[in-house]
Symmetry: C2
Subunit: 283 residues, 2 copies
């Protein structure tokens, strides 16, 4: 029996319903939560900016856009962030990747104010994650957990194997899974026995950007497989998981249409959390 | 053949030699690096304070002591930390555990200035660890890695299993091991197949405070076992690893005399790093 497809659309729909209902409860005349969106010139950033703009506007969330020129230097970037920090009409700030070359990740993490850090890149938000008390977590890995919860997949007590240790997906994902009481193994390019480890996993998470990396022989029958891979091959977006894994796994997120759309919806949830509208631990 | 005992004393001795040589290179009349040591009334904190005082003074590092009363509230704690932050004669600040009951870990992480955070408890230092770029790491887990490096134990590419996920040892240890290119599995109270996981490990790290938790059948012959356990049983300090593990493991840190003494020496190294005297990645 082929794996159950864990599609993102119903998850997005449920998150959007909750966002609309929270916004509807605001007194009339209240300012809408507002995202400051910092957009570098890279085509992938421009494409993601279009997705965010469209989805946020459909939710009646405000998006204010700023172009990051390739030649942007650190002082100008810091000045912009400080202006947005002190601007009371701005709820959250998102700087899309890849940033202009002068702006390294350390500068971003150091400069981003934790109280407006909609994607959990600041040292404070990362530090909360590191000690097991996440507040605003990065939207991509958090979306993966929300997707699993939506489909009733248990995480506590399960053995989760994460392939990839990027600061954007793999590392925060491992910390979120740990906070959700999974036993977590983190694998990466230096791992020598990847297949032996993934074959033990109840939950496999792939986040490396290596098409077809996870093959059927690497997956335990009945495991749940979550694919964060996004690679464009001959004009098509493909994930890290080989399609034949569907013959072995109990459930599998498709690419495209799995974790990807949930990421943008979780960004909107995070914005509402920064605005104090979304409380509790359900996202 | 019984396991090689990985004792802390030679590691401490080597670290102290380096500290003395760095201090000797300071121009005469230069102020010594100074630790502000915040001491709650708990007996274990008082005992650790004595160890730090003795070891730091033998290295001619300054220790300035502050008593934390049981009734200390958050505003008074924040005021004290801010005073120490702006005091140019203070190089680093260490607040010993357990803190007075009103001071939760979140307050500590939020208040501690990263530039004077000698034990890596601030959100910024934890966040650097979370994204794989540690700067000042918590002294206990960092000491474990330094001890292994001292004895020539490879970490990169090895499978490390960490038992325990406290924010003081287990979690930062897992992140340090990941930054050192190990494949890392983090186990804890919700793990269902602990022995099956530890038996696969090249390196086993125990940090739960459960005497005798790690038994010989849980260890792969030839594995290296590092014990962070500190439990007082009938007046003796015992670790998390059963003594019979010495018949199976290739190497084992003794308790007492293994990771414990290295922790205090690493605190001194961290103080020199905050003072800008210790550079590079060797600690």
């Amino acid at each position: 029996m082929p794996a159950r497809p864990l599609t993102g659309a119903p998850v997005v729909s449920q998150l959007h319903d909750k966002i609309r209902s929270l916004l509807a409860s605001l007194p009339s005349g209240t300012a809408r939560p507002t995202l400051a969106l910092l957009i570098p010139g890279d085509p992938s950033a421009l494409a993601y900016a279009r997705t965010i703009r469209k989805q946020f506007r459909s939710l009646e969330l405000e998006v204010r856009e700023f172009t990051l020129e390739d030649c942007l230097d650190i002082p100008s970037f810091v000045t912009l962030i400080k202006q947005l920090e002190s601007d009371h009409s701005v709820t959250g700030i998102l700087a899309l990747q890849p940033l202009p070359s002068a702006i390294d990740r350390h500068t971003l993490s150091h400069t981003m104010p934790p109280t407006k850090d909609v994607d959990g890149v600041s040292f404070e938000q990362q530090g909360r994650l590191a000690v097991g008390r996440p507040h605003i977590a990065p939207s991509t890995p958090l979306g993966g957990l929300i997707l699993l919860r939506h489909y009733g997949v248990d995480i506590a007590g399960k053995h989760a194997v994460v392939i990839g240790r990027s600061p954007v997906v793999g590392r925060p994902l491992a910390l979120l899974l740990l906070a959700a009481d999974a036993t977590v193994t983190i694998c990466h390019s230096r791992t020598t026995n990847l297949a032996a480890l993934t074959r033990q996993a109840d939950l496999v998470f792939a986040a490396v950007g290596h098409p077809g990396l996870v093959t059927p022989d690497m997956v335990k029958p009945g495991a749940v497989v979550v694919d964060f891979g996004v690679t464009v091959v001959e004009g098509r977006v493909v994930g890290d998981v080989h399609p034949a894994v569907a013959d072995v796994a109990a459930a599998l997120t498709p690419v495209p249409g799995g974790t990807g759309p949930v990421t943008t919806a979780v960004l909107a949830c995070n914005l509402l959390r920064l605005a104090g509208l979304w409380t509790g631990d359900d996202v």
